[in-house]
């Protein structure tokens, strides 16, 4: 990584933070998914009415440790099984906002050509831009995770009188699945950016990337396919391999001519 590439990465970060519209959309999704949604779940669990029907439903939930209250068990299921899947939306969203604005946005504003006249090769520009999108996506994901964790723990502690430990699912999601998912998102957007003529167009097509995650969410809630550590680990490795393959192919195609078309 040389000085020029670092300068491009810094500039891309500044471009996002100084654009109020982009920065707001970068904040709203994590806020909704990682602060508001978990809080709603926790409060709902705590304030469940003593309805016999609801009680019957709760009795169906498997209780590994009978000494733990039913409230805490449900909260644990939500935090460790439901939230990780929701969490995956964040790296995709952050990566797509940044990648769309950094490739198509530069093309749209005619600044990409200027950058191409620099002594950076097309491949170096590509790597700098992917790196910027990836770093942003990982930063936003980490901050979202820490914020969610702080909020959920506080709520659980005050409402249910105990702390909840995140299990190994989270570790896999944070360290493996979300980095590879965000790389897939970035590469797909970059590939599309050769054709897309506006940032909006590029962002719209990025939305489709969320569909597989939505399917996972549905599967998780309905119990069709409950993610356990092994499934999660397998999925992560699959995604990482896909990300690497896509990246290599995109890097080969990345030429000046393709970009300025």
């Amino acid at each position: 990584m040389n000085q020029a590439m670092t300068a491009v990465i810094k500039k891309d970060f500044k471009g996002i933070t100084s654009n109020r519209r982009l920065f707001a959309s970068l904040l709203i999704v994590p806020l909704a998914l990682m602060i508001i949604l978990p809080s709603i779940f926790i409060f709902m669990i705590h304030f469940i009415p003593d309805d016999p029907d609801v009680q019957k439903l709760l009795d169906l939930i498997p209780r590994l440790d009978p000494s733990v209250s039913i409230e805490l068990t449900v909260a644990g299921l939500i935090v460790n099984y439901i939230l990780p899947v929701f969490f995956l939306i964040i790296p995709i969203m952050a990566a797509s906002i940044m990648a769309a604005s950094s490739f198509v946005g530069e093309k749209e504003k005619h600044t990409l050509e200027t950058l191409l006249y620099s002594p950076l090769s097309a491949g170096q520009i590509f790597r700098a831009k992917v790196m910027a999108s990836f770093l942003l996506s990982m930063t936003v994901s980490m901050i979202s995770f820490l914020a969610m964790f702080a909020v959920v723990e506080t709520e659980v502690f005050f409402l249910m009188g105990s702390l909840l430990l995140p299990d190994i699912n989270w570790l896999i999601v944070l360290l493996l699945l979300s980095p590879s998912v965000s790389l897939i998102a970035i590469t797909l957007i970059v590939r599309g950016s050769a054709k897309a003529q506006s940032v909006e167009e590029s962002q719209q097509s990025a939305v489709f990337l969320i569909i597989p995650v939505l399917l996972l969410i549905v599967g998780q809630f309905s119990g069709v396919m409950l993610l356990n550590v092994w499934i999660l680990l397998g999925l992560s490795i699959l995604c990482a391999a896909a990300a690497w393959l896509l990246m290599q192919r995109a890097l080969g195609k990345f030429t000046y001519e393709m970009l300025l078309r």
């Binding site: 040389n2 020029a4 300068a7 500044k14 471009g15 600044t111 050509e113 200027t114 620099s118 000046y256």
Partner: protein, 304 residues
């Protein structure tokens, strides 16, 4: 020293459009080469080929000994480019934009600041240095683009319509800077424009291009000798002898075609000896515009 060399350079776009057809020419250091032609003649495509943005479909070119198609990043190290489509970041100030490009070119931060400072002053942008680019006028952007292209002290400069959108004063400023670069720092300047009068004022050599073909190349004198030899003598006089075949132009001046300036004394002597009064006499050499129109007319005739 030859800095830019084009050998049978051709570019045909995938759509089938032949934008550049077998152009061969070379530029020396310290030269301001005017690459002239109407819109769509292939000027911008030629610049894109020379800067490595496009790969030629035939022939080859080199800038400072490097083929831009094979090693664009290396050629860019010593090359500055100003084109209409090479814009800068609206969310940064003029100064910050220059600093950004300085660091992209690997210039140390302190030196980059100094260089940006000097260039902003030279181009009359110092007062707007801390304004965001979104507040800049077209002319200011144009001048900042030139500053950006010069930030790394390039040895070859490609300018595509550098003074379009500039007011007369800034244009003069820019021209002065371009001349200084060529004369004092030996920078090679490849200047594309469709404004022939402007080109005649600033360039030392010219290439005339139409439909992707190079019609002629050379200094003004060479082009004059090649296409429109001789000159037009304009005389304001009265009592001109009737046997002298002179045409009268719209201003009432007499016009006569001459082969060279050697012919003038004889003509004047005859008028004076015949009792005529001469108020003024001037030989008009063909301008770049005259040459260009004559060349394109010739081309059309050939095609017919």
């Amino acid at each position: 020293m030859q800095t830019v060399i084009l050998e049978n350079l051709s570019k045909t776009y995938p759509s089938g459009k032949q934008a550049v057809r077998q152009i061969s020419l070379s530029l020396n250091s310290g030269e301001i080469y005017g690459f002239l032609g109407p819109n769509g003649a292939g000027k911008t495509t030629t610049v894109k080929l020379l800067t490595g943005m496009l790969t030629p479909s035939g022939g080859c070119c080199s800038v400072l000994g490097t083929d831009p198609a094979l090693n664009p990043a290396k050629t860019h190290e010593n090359m500055g480019v100003v084109t209409e489509h090479a814009q800068m970041y609206d969310n940064l100030t003029g100064f910050d934009n220059l600093i950004f490009y300085a660091s992209v070119f690997g210039i140390a931060s302190e030196e980059g600041k100094k260089r940006a400072d000097t260039l902003l002053r030279q181009l009359g942008l110092w007062e707007a240095a801390d304004q965001k680019l979104s507040a800049y006028s077209t002319g200011m952007r144009q001048r900042l683009s030139l500053a950006r292209a010069l930030i790394h002290r390039p040895k070859v400069l490609f300018l595509d319509e550098p003074t379009s959108g500039l007011d007369p004063e800034s244009a003069q400023n820019v021209n002065h800077l371009i001349r200084e670069l060529a004369e004092n720092e030996n920078v090679t300047i490849f200047l594309c424009t469709h404004q022939l009068r402007y080109a005649q004022e600033i360039c030392t050599r010219f290439g005339l291009i139409e439909n992707g073909r190079l019609l002629a190349s050379g200094t003004l004198q060479e082009l004059q000798a090649k296409t429109l030899p001789g000159a037009l003598l304009k005389i304001r006089a009265d009592h001109v002898p009737a046997d002298l075949t002179l045409n009268r132009d719209t201003d009432g001046q007499y016009e006569i075609k001459i082969r060279s300036e050697e012919d003038i004394p004889a003509i004047i002597r005859r008028i004076v000896e015949a009792g005529g009064n001469i108020y003024s006499a001037a030989a008009k050499r063909p301008t770049l515009e005259d040459i260009y129109f004559s060349l394109t007319a010739q081309k059309k005739e050939e095609e017919v």
